[in-house]
Symmetry: C2
């Protein structure tokens, strides 16, 4: 504490604002760097991100960034790990509820997945792109993905097969369906600046447009598996 140091003059004047003890827990510099790095990496990608820009956004000198994380690559990996966990949890939360009837489960999954992407609009593009540019990064995520996707796919496929056997839905490979689902849910965010430009007034009100898109996703996926009763 500072009351110990009352030697000659009041040294509290030498303390900087940010060093003052505060009731509220202020984020540590390390956290600030992580948050700034997340924004920078998600927006610009590894190659486009600049460590100095991250440091500046975090309000520290770039030496601090290297002090805490040593290299740009290590800082990047911290972000990747953190985001991987976020995505894994989301997938389970969106599609993991096995008690629901098939169509409800899928509708629910589409909607929750869509909501997740709304809340994390840069995340899919970030992963997809970093892996495209440097495919060796797949190893950072492959195990994580397979551990979650494989059992989820197996259970969903069984439910799909049962439903198809009863003649309630079309027979379809769960991987095709999930790929369809992710395509319609994610693409609009990946291409958002382009979509906004082409759509004009249609996409001007973002909230309204996204609500329409969400409904469209549900519609197109359910239509894909519902029986055509001609």
């Amino acid at each position: 504490m500072k009351q110990i140091i009352d030697t000659i003059d009041d040294k509290t004047e030498m303390l900087h604002e940010w060093q003052m003890p505060d009731d509220k827990q202020e984020p540590t510099k390390e956290q600030l760097i992580l948050e700034a790095a997340e924004r920078e990496f998600l927006l610009k990608g590894y190659d486009g991100a600049r460590t100095m820009a991250i440091a500046e956004a975090a309000g520290v000198t770039h030496a601090m960034l290297h002090y805490y994380f040593r290299t740009k690559e290590r800082l990047f990996n911290c972000i990747v790990d953190s985001k991987m966990q976020t995505m894994g949890k989301m997938l389970l939360a969106a599609f993991g509820d096995e008690r629901l009837p098939l169509l409800d489960r899928i509708r629910n999954g589409v909607e929750r997945h869509f909501d997740f992407v709304v809340a994390n609009p840069d995340l899919p593009r970030f992963f997809i792109n970093e892996i495209y540019v440097r495919p060796d990064r797949l190893n950072l995520v492959r195990h994580n993905i397979e551990k979650i996707a494989a059992p989820l796919f197996a259970k969903l496929q069984r439910q799909l097969d049962e439903s198809a056997a009863r003649g309630e839905t079309e027979r379809i490979d769960v991987r095709m369906l999930v790929l369809d689902l992710m395509s319609v849910n994610i693409f609009v965010f990946i291409a958002y600046p382009l979509v906004e430009s082409v759509f004009g007034d249609f996409a001007a009100d973002r909230a309204r447009f996204l609500a329409l898109r969400k409904a469209e996703s549900v519609e197109i996926i359910l239509r894909r598996i519902k029986k055509h009763t001609i």
Copy 2:
């Protein structure tokens, strides 16, 4: 001295007399640089691309690259312009045939668009990403897009409305439908390394997998607009 690309209107003007495209003449250095630059930029993006890597791939020193194109940015813009034209032509070719009945026109459009993406698998990701990272680049392409998209959309919307009025298809906004179409056609390529990893044996035979995906795209889009029940 160097008559560089300040006027890019007609590409042949960039070639010198003795360089004129002869039937069986080896490509000029300039051509080689452009081809190498296209590969590098499409794969790695502007930030990840290295002018020296481009020069090396083209078999020239990097000084040559600057001699012909002065800056990385100018070389990049050459590639963007060239690819924009390619995409514009494709869109018209895929959806421009107005004599076909609606469903045939759409099926045809989906298939031709899919084929184009198969032939240019990096192109959508390239555009989408460069524009995301630096939205000011929209100005390079906006005019081009609007000139092609606006009339195409208008005509397609009319045909959709007429069909819906006859009760043959569902009523839908053409922009939603095109966005759906692009989503299912493009996303699988943007995410290909991830998809390949998750799908395993399913995607191991690329040609077979892409054939399945093409059929799936047609199926999901046609199901979206066909009347569901009678």
